[in-house]
């Protein structure tokens, strides 16, 4: 059976690379917490629980191997955030990187925003491949010359050197969030960005770090009346006045910043009506939206809740236009998933470059792709067993009925500790990055 792909139902996915340690003993710090391609797809950034960022760069395609696109190799790595303790509130602040978002490239340097629970940082990643040589007062190793030996003057010149990639923090945006930051999103105006925590959304100017504007505040006067929290937020890809935020109750609100300074009144509210007969203890928990992403076109948005992925047309608030079941077989396991807390896992989702296919993760290191046009879906696995170079990934299947076919895996055999929460799709090509707990897999489309 063919895999799902960009408009062509014959796309097959091949293993390309895997990054990270092989051993099963995973240190907490190595848990990958975010994955993001930059706007050209040349750079791929990961953040982890230890507050570190690793950026990979795609090698240019070589003429020797036209059947595969360039590999991703380490370009830069740095410590973005460190653990902190807020003594006033008795609050431990994790260094875990919750999100990374790239800025569109404007000059030779690359910029990205990275955030933990409380602080957002703007990082500049720049290359240095020349250095000045021939100073008059200093030797090449930096020692000052004896002035008596200086008899002539020369002009220092730039000479080539081995490429050095430097990351430096250019802005630190702190002290604006009482609750835990779950999202950041760069505006299409390239001047502002938003940061969202459980109850508030703030608007920042990238140049100004000592103030931000609060644009959404859903904190009730009496905390006893709290019924929902903000789970994700994103700016529209080309309308700089529009953003959406999702909630733990399964609704998405679209706001227009032209309407008022404080966008507590939504312009649109997207919510699928629920059948009251089907309501159970778990209904609200599994309807909580863990991720919201606009399509590249800006016409649609996608939401991920515990069991499904939904595509919404921005022109229709009453219900999604498409719903894809990610792992419906888990509905009869909700009791144990509640007990082991897996029901609170926050899966992300992503679009391919032309919005024809969407992808999200599941358990047992499975991930799913849904081809919207061809109405096909496929389940693939990120595992070291399928890691021979350019080996084609075989579709996987979970058996739900009594009879388990060969090669199928039963629901009870799924490993719920192996979750794929973070995936990313190259903005232009069929190259995907899939993060297991502590490894990063890169898969590419099979090119003949």
């Amino acid at each position: 059976m063919a895999g799902a792909g960009g408009g062509n139902s014959d796309v097959q996915w091949c293993f390309s690379q895997v990054k990270g340690a092989i051993d099963d003993d995973v240190a907490e710090a190595d848990i990958i917490s975010t994955v993001e391609f930059n706007h050209s797809g040349e750079l791929l950034a990961t953040g982890d629980k230890g507050g570190r960022v690793v950026i990979f760069q795609q090698e240019p395609e070589s003429k020797n191997q036209p059947q595969c696109r360039g590999e991703y190799n380490v370009y830069s790595t740095f410590q973005s955030h460190e653990p902190e303790f807020d003594y006033l509130k008795s609050l431990e602040i994790e260094e875990k990187i919750n999100k990374i978002r790239w800025l569109p490239q404007k000059n030779a340097a690359q910029f990205l925003l990275s955030t933990n629970d409380k602080t957002i940082k703007l990082w500049k990643i720049s290359e240095r491949d020349k250095r000045p040589e021939g100073y008059n007062l200093k030797e090449e190793d930096g020692r000052y010359r004896d002035l008596n030996t200086v008899t002539t003057l020369r002009v220092p010149v730039f000479r080539p050197m081995d490429l050095m990639v430097e990351a430096s923090p250019r802005r630190v945006f702190s002290n604006a969030h009482t609750y835990h930051i779950n999202s950041i999103s760069v505006n299409s105006d390239c001047e502002t960005y938003l940061s969202a925590d459980d109850l508030r959304i703030n608007l920042w100017n990238l140049e100004i770090n000592d103030r931000s504007f609060n644009i959404v505040d859903i904190k009730p006067t009496n905390m006893e009346e709290l019924t929902e929290v903000i789970t994700a937020a994103e700016f529209h890809p080309n309308q700089c006045n529009t953003f959406v935020y999702s909630s733990s109750k399964g609704t998405i609100r679209l706001c227009d910043m032209r309407a008022s300074a404080l966008c507590d009144q939504h312009a649109k509210q997207f919510e699928e009506p629920e059948d009251p007969n089907n309501r159970s203890f778990f209904s609200e928990i599994i309807s909580s939206i863990s991720d919201v992403k606009f399509s590249h076109s800006g016409r649609y948005m996608m939401t991920r809740d515990y069991l499904s992925v939904k595509i919404w047309d921005l022109n229709m608030e009453s219900r999604p236009v498409e719903t894809y079941q990610v792992h419906e077989y888990l509905r009869s396991k909700l009791c144990s998933l509640y007990e082991n807390d897996c029901i609170f896992d926050k899966f992300e989702c992503c679009w391919n470059g032309n919005d024809s296919v969407v992808m999200t993760g599941s358990y047992n290191n499975f991930f799913r792709m849904f081809d919207r046009g061809y109405r096909q879906d496929v389940t693939l696995e990120a595992s070291r067993e399928n890691s021979k170079p350019r080996s084609v990934l075989k579709p996987r299947k979970v058996s739900t009925g009594g009879k388990r076919k060969k090669d199928e895996i039963s629901v009870d055999s799924l490993d719920f500790n192996k979750k794929i929460l973070h995936t990313a799709w190259h903005p232009l090509d069929n190259i995907i990055a899939v993060a297991t707990t502590n490894n990063l897999y890169i898969f590419q489309e099979k090119l003949n």
């Binding site: 570190r52 690793v54 790595t77 431990e92 835990h180 905390m223 159970s280």
Partner: protein, 116 residues
């Protein structure tokens, strides 16, 4: 008269039978809910309500009072302060938390294994 009573009685019985059939066809979600409630009878009916959300908002809270700690140290003098059982995540009440209970978080000085 009695004929009417009989008819209403039969109608009630049929509707009760229908309800029995409906109850047997329970959605998987509802049967999971029944399982959960049988294990935790004290579970409230508002799962998404303020309790769960407030627990989520309070993530990261650690309690350490330097005053309590120093007074307890002064009282016990040379003896060691009792340390919390390893399973305890929240330190409240009579137990005096010590700096050892709040594991010091050192920044990761080791490079990420992804870059290896």
């Amino acid at each position: 008269m009695s004929g009417d009573n009989e008819e209403t009685q039969r109608a009630e019985e049929t509707s009760m039978e229908e309800k029995d059939v409906q109850d047997k066809v329970i959605s998987p979600e509802k049967s999971e809910e029944a399982k959960l409630k049988s294990r935790y009878p004290n579970l409230g009916n508002k799962p998404g309500g303020s309790d769960l959300l407030r627990k989520r908002l309070q993530k990261g809270q650690k309690y350490f009072d330097s005053g309590d700690y120093n007074m307890a140290k002064a009282k016990i003098k040379n003896k060691q302060l009792p340390t919390a059982a390893p399973e305890k995540t929240e330190i409240t009440g009579d137990h005096i938390p010590t700096p050892q209970d709040l594991a010091q978080r050192k920044p990761s000085l080791v490079a990420s294994k992804l870059a290896g």
